[in-house]
Symmetry: C2
Subunit: 371 residues, 2 copies
């Protein structure tokens, strides 16, 4: 990236999001062009007073603090329209224009399942979150959550135990880790995935930041699993946002006598998929992704076309190298020259997409397209 | 009834049901007219060899045994087209032409909820069945089940504890009570509701009788609640039949680690309503009945028009006596001359139907028809 200052200025206009870039005639604005707009023009986009002030009168000291934070190891700004901006997140109505990331930005573009739930779960609920996360992470899905105590932390830990990738989205600036108890866990997440926030440094974990944060958890993921949640749980907000964003919602049932099952039961009544095992989630996601989302990526609009032709070409090469005779990843590495890691990740997407079938012994073969 | 012998003869044609009475031109046959039909005509209706033989060559001794059984106290034959034949059961495709009943035949026409489940439930499942049955029976729904050990017995006992009405449908002749352990319970059911079977005396509780029996459990009821059921449970057959019959299916969720929750979870995934409390069932049934079924009764076909104009007239009298000012049952007894018990039952149906609203203090008032 060239100078990050213009993007850091936009990041401090906290009500600004990608929705403000769409013009009535269907065209889209360049984010950085906003910096030259008048107060009246910015107000015309629907921005509030505080955001207009942040753009017209940038907070130099705060932005300097962001730059100091960015100078640390494995830290990066991911901006709207860049190849690193995650494609699924770009599809939501109110996608942030700037993401602060610590860790591996590539993790944000992996297929992810969000796992959220109570901060005070039962021992069984905690164990369920860990087991599901471990199983799914081992199978190649990244696990996204909010680093909270309870189910969130159990989900991150399960993904780490499964040697998978995990993403924690915070409701504060990444210069603070909240809650304190999970500081060490945050370090492990950054080393095996990423910490993410759309809030610049210096932002405290204020209550109103969490619903805002939750839209990123659901928006990054193909689906959200709620493990245990009371009727007042913030996890139900994440689930509702997932539904609004057109993503799948999964919930785990429990005893009718447990208050921590009430939230999940309400979700199921509202149409969430009842799941008993991690395999249930795989089966649902397979059907889901075959239909539309990841499959639709090549037809995405300009602003969302982040994977680029190179990615599509790799998929073509891989599919050409793969016949209807089962082949392993090593064979495919030899045939294509692609890296084993990239092939494994692409095979997962193709499998979810219904174009590849996994065979016993870790082998893969093509399958005829579904109708 | 005049001579029961012709009906007892039909009862022994065990594959015969009301569906055989429908002719391609839309008209319906008189059941007793079948007794004069030739073997060829009976075969033309789709009857099998054994049923044809039972009609053409009646088993005099067996029928004499049925007559001896019928001579006992509180025993009755309920025949197709008679005013005692339950309206909801008459609506199913394969309704039996003859029911053997011990107890109060009027109970069969009460609004009923079927509660079924495992023969080997957990202590909590058994308790749940009892509590739901008691609550719903107290509120005026009769509870229908199959007298089996486990959930069935708990449901009957809950209804009795709630001083409500309960109906047990058996998979054998009523001269035998199966299982033996529930002999005393069967006596209480007969004294506070009814024992029912479409199988004549002498029929043992053979395995293949139970799916046949299950269609009567679901067919008598407006909905079926499954409390705990393994994936292989016969309760899932009852639930499937309820669905096929257009009735509501309810299931209680539980731990994903309990094999006895698997059946309920499968039902929920297939569209059964997840319920956490007896009130959930009331709310669903209210919406259900307001829409169609009991409300549609006056428009039923001839063969199903069993409630007769007298019943409709009573409802008219009751609604006329009821204003938009709340009134209690005693007031309504004074205004209409109807019995308190009849009024309570009619108020329940009208409430489920959306035409009457219950007010605090056990008072009722009319409400404007829903759109």
């Amino acid at each position: 990236m060239d100078d990050p200052k213009p993007w850091l200025t936009l990041a401090r206009a906290q009500s600004l999001h990608a929705g403000h870039l769409r013009r009535p005639d269907g065209s889209t604005l360049e984010p950085l062009a906003l910096l030259g707009d008048s107060r009246a023009a910015l107000a015309g986009l629907g921005l509030g007073e505080a955001s207009i002030e942040a753009i017209r009168n940038p907070a130099a000291e705060a932005i300097a603090a962001d730059e100091r934070w960015l100078a640390g190891p494995a830290r990066q700004l991911v901006t709207w329209g860049s190849p690193d901006y995650p494609a699924l997140l770009a599809m939501i109505e109110d996608a942030p224009l700037v993401l602060f990331v610590e860790g591996d930005v590539a993790a944000l573009s992996q297929p992810q399942l969000a796992i959220v739930g109570s901060r005070n779960p039962t021992a069984i609920g905690r164990d369920t979150a860990t087991q599901f996360a471990r199983h799914l992470a081992t199978a190649g899905l990244a696990i996204t959550s909010g680093l909270a105590l309870g189910i969130d932390a159990a989900a991150h830990r399960g993904a780490l135990a499964g040697r998978g990738s995990t993403i924690a989205v915070l409701g504060c600036g990444l210069d603070r880790i909240y809650p304190r108890e999970n500081t060490e866990l945050a370090r492990e997440v950054a080393a095996n995935g990423a910490l993410v926030s759309d809030l610049p440094t210096g932002n405290a974990p204020l209550k109103h930041n969490f619903p805002r944060r939750n839209r990123l958890i659901s928006g990054l993921a193909v689906g959200t699993l709620v493990v245990e949640a009371a009727l007042q749980s913030g996890s139900l907000i994440t689930a509702r946002l997932a539904g609004d964003q057109g993503r799948e919602v999964f919930a785990i049932p429990g005893s009718i006598h447990s208050p921590l099952s009430r939230g999940c039961h309400r979700l199921i009544r509202q149409g969430a998929k009842l799941v008993e095992s991690a395999d249930d989630i795989f089966m649902e996601l397979g059907a889901l992704l075959a239909g539309s989302r990841l499959a639709a990526r090549p037809e995405a609009t300009d602003a969302q076309e982040v994977s680029g032709p190179a990615l599509d070409k790799d998929y073509e090469i891989l599919l050409d190298a793969l016949g209807f005779e089962p082949a392993g990843v090593d064979t495919l590495v030899a045939r294509t020259g692609l890296k084993a890691e990239a092939i494994a990740s692409m095979l997962l997407i193709l499998e979810l997409d219904g174009r590849v079938a996994q065979q016993p012994g870790g082998l893969f073969c093509r399958r005829l397209p579904r109708k």
